[in-house]
Amino acid sequence: MIRTSKWIAEISSLGFLFLLTLFTGLSIGVEWISPVHFWDPLFKNIIWDIRWPRVLLAIIAGGALSVSGYIFQIILKNPLADPFILGVSGAACLGGALGFLLHLGYPLITFVSFLTSLLCLGVIDFVSRKHVSTTSHVLLLTGVFLSFLFSSLVTLCLSFSEPFEGTSLLFWLMGGLSFPIPTPMLWISLGILFFLLSFIYRKSYHLHLLNLSAIETQALGIDALKTQRLFFILASLLCALTVSLTGMIGFVGLLVPHLCRFLWGNDPRRILIHCFLVGAILLISMDMVVRTLFPYEMPLGAMTALLGAPFFLFLLWKRSSP
């Protein structure tokens, strides 16, 4: 049940917070640049060539990972699920590792990484079609073990790499927003993201119905297994897109859905947009804080976990206490 006026108020305030964070993200950095000077020839390059791509990547990664995590938590019926639980992100990492080993240029690494994850997605989908299961156990276990397989292959790649190559690859794997993605690629990714999100949103009622057991969903007129498979593909595409652009930024996909559910309930028709905005806001803010505190490039993936885990534990303990 969606009280429209309340929903519009929530979206508006989140949207406002989002824009505020966006502008702050552009202004804050090694030095503060007020929005008035955004087009000043002196600061123009810093704003639009350094900070703007980072903010865009934060929006793509934060938003995509949050929505992907939300979907995985429902279709796997597991509150601990996050976008990286199934092997697709591992495959993306493997693709990236191979790209680094083969000395490919940067945009190509992203492309190869995305391709390998699509391949993995195809394999998992094919397997799940053959072994139709009424529970999500088969899907979950297939994904978890594929994940192990890929991460061990990535470790192998690391051991074969030349000294400084290994550092590069490790840094990429740790996740961050500083990778030199060419601007056209960013805009294409944003386009893909919005296409996927609008498709997901149009089907969000079916996602809501997947909260029930498979047979109940079927009895309500939705092909449970087909819908589960569809959402698995959509969520994996979101994850693959993000990992190929930014490496593994963990925790956002786990934390944001829980946070949104805690604040606004569990109806995807309502909170999918909330998830996207909160994820984007969170990642822009975290990146903003990290790059202002240190002049170094820090692995954002590690920082999100460092900051997110205590907060999440606090939330969990608060809710469980009598």
């Binding site: 049940m1 969606i2 938590q73 429902i74 019926k77 509150p79 009424t134 149009r202 969000s204 009622y205 809501h208 119905l209 997947l210 909260n211 029930l212 057991s213 498979a214 047979i215 109940e216 079927q218 009895a219 309500l220 007129g221 939705i222 092909d223 449970a224 559910r261 309930g265 569990n266 109806d267 028709r269």
Partner: protein, 268 residues
């Protein structure tokens, strides 16, 4: 009139070669309250799964008033058949009212935004099952009895002619068992619905339903009115246990007592 009919249905589980339906045929009479009875593993839940089309028969048809179900869209089927599962399963908790509104899915399009009418139907079904006071409670705070009522309300929201129930009394204490079945019975009479229920308790089956279908080792043993089919002979054949059957002095319905073989009684 035959509302739902199984015509020569063949079914096998791909992972379990021992289980097999061969030429399974039976029907559910329109307006009846039928109980599906049988020993464990005889295939009762499988039949329900086949009706909801969660499982598909290898051969044969499941027919709704003459039209095979598989020729209809899933949504249309959902407007004809509602299913009440044994227990409440959900990925993440929500309010009872939101949960019950999920039952309106077969009547909604697109984003499934419920109208005032849908809200009214939700409230009406909750009051029908005497659970309107639970409207804003969260699902994980409900007792088993309350959960069963909510499950029933959700299915009733679908406004279907046929209602399927899989062991509605499974997790309930004796009082709650009576309550839910009484509610079911009165709603069925009021709305002139057809009910097909899987149940283990024979007494309750006799008390609340009129027809029964006996399933034995993946075959239809027989079906018909309770007065004809609830006999010691049939019970011995289907369940393999000895029953003494007399009349419940309050309701006049058959009352079944289990006895050990040593004590022989003459049954009528």
């Amino acid at each position: 009139m035959k509302l739902l009919e199984f015509r020569n249905v063949h079914f096998k589980y791909s992972g379990d070669p021992s289980f097999c339906f061969k030429e399974l045929s039976f029907f559910v009479q329109e307006g009846s309250f039928t109980t599906l009875l049988g020993a464990n593993g005889s295939g009762k839940s499988t039949i329900l799964n086949l009706i909801t089309q969660f499982l598909k028969p290898k051969q044969g048809d499941i027919v709704w008033k003459g039209t095979p179900l598989h020729t209809l869209a899933l949504k249309q089927c959902a407007q004809k058949i509602a299913f009440v599962p044994q227990s409440m399963e959900f990925a993440f908790s929500m309010s009872v009212f939101d949960y019950v509104l999920l039952g309106r899915a077969p009547h909604l399009q697109g984003l499934g935004l419920e109208s005032t009418e849908d809200h009214e139907i939700g409230e009406a079904t909750l009051s029908m099952v005497q659970a309107l006071h639970l409207k804003d409670r969260l699902l994980d705070t409900l007792s088993h009895g309350e959960k069963q009522k909510v499950l029933l309300a959700k299915a009733l929201c679908q406004e279907t002619p046929l209602l399927l129930l899989d062991e509605p009394t499974a997790h309930l204490d004796i009082q709650a068992q009576f309550e839910i079945l009484s509610l079911l019975r009165s709603i069925q009479k009021q709305k002139k619905m057809t009910v097909l229920m899987v149940l283990h308790q024979l007494d309750l089956a006799c008390e609340f339903s009129e027809e029964l279908i006996f399933l034995k080792s993946e075959k239809i043993y027989g079906q018909g009115p309770i007065s004809e089919w609830m006999t010691t002979g049939h019970l011995k054949n289907v369940y393999g246990f000895n029953a003494f059957i007399d009349q419940n002095p309050f309701t006049g319905k058959p009352r079944i007592t289990h006895h050990r073989e040593e004590v022989e009684q003459i049954n009528h």
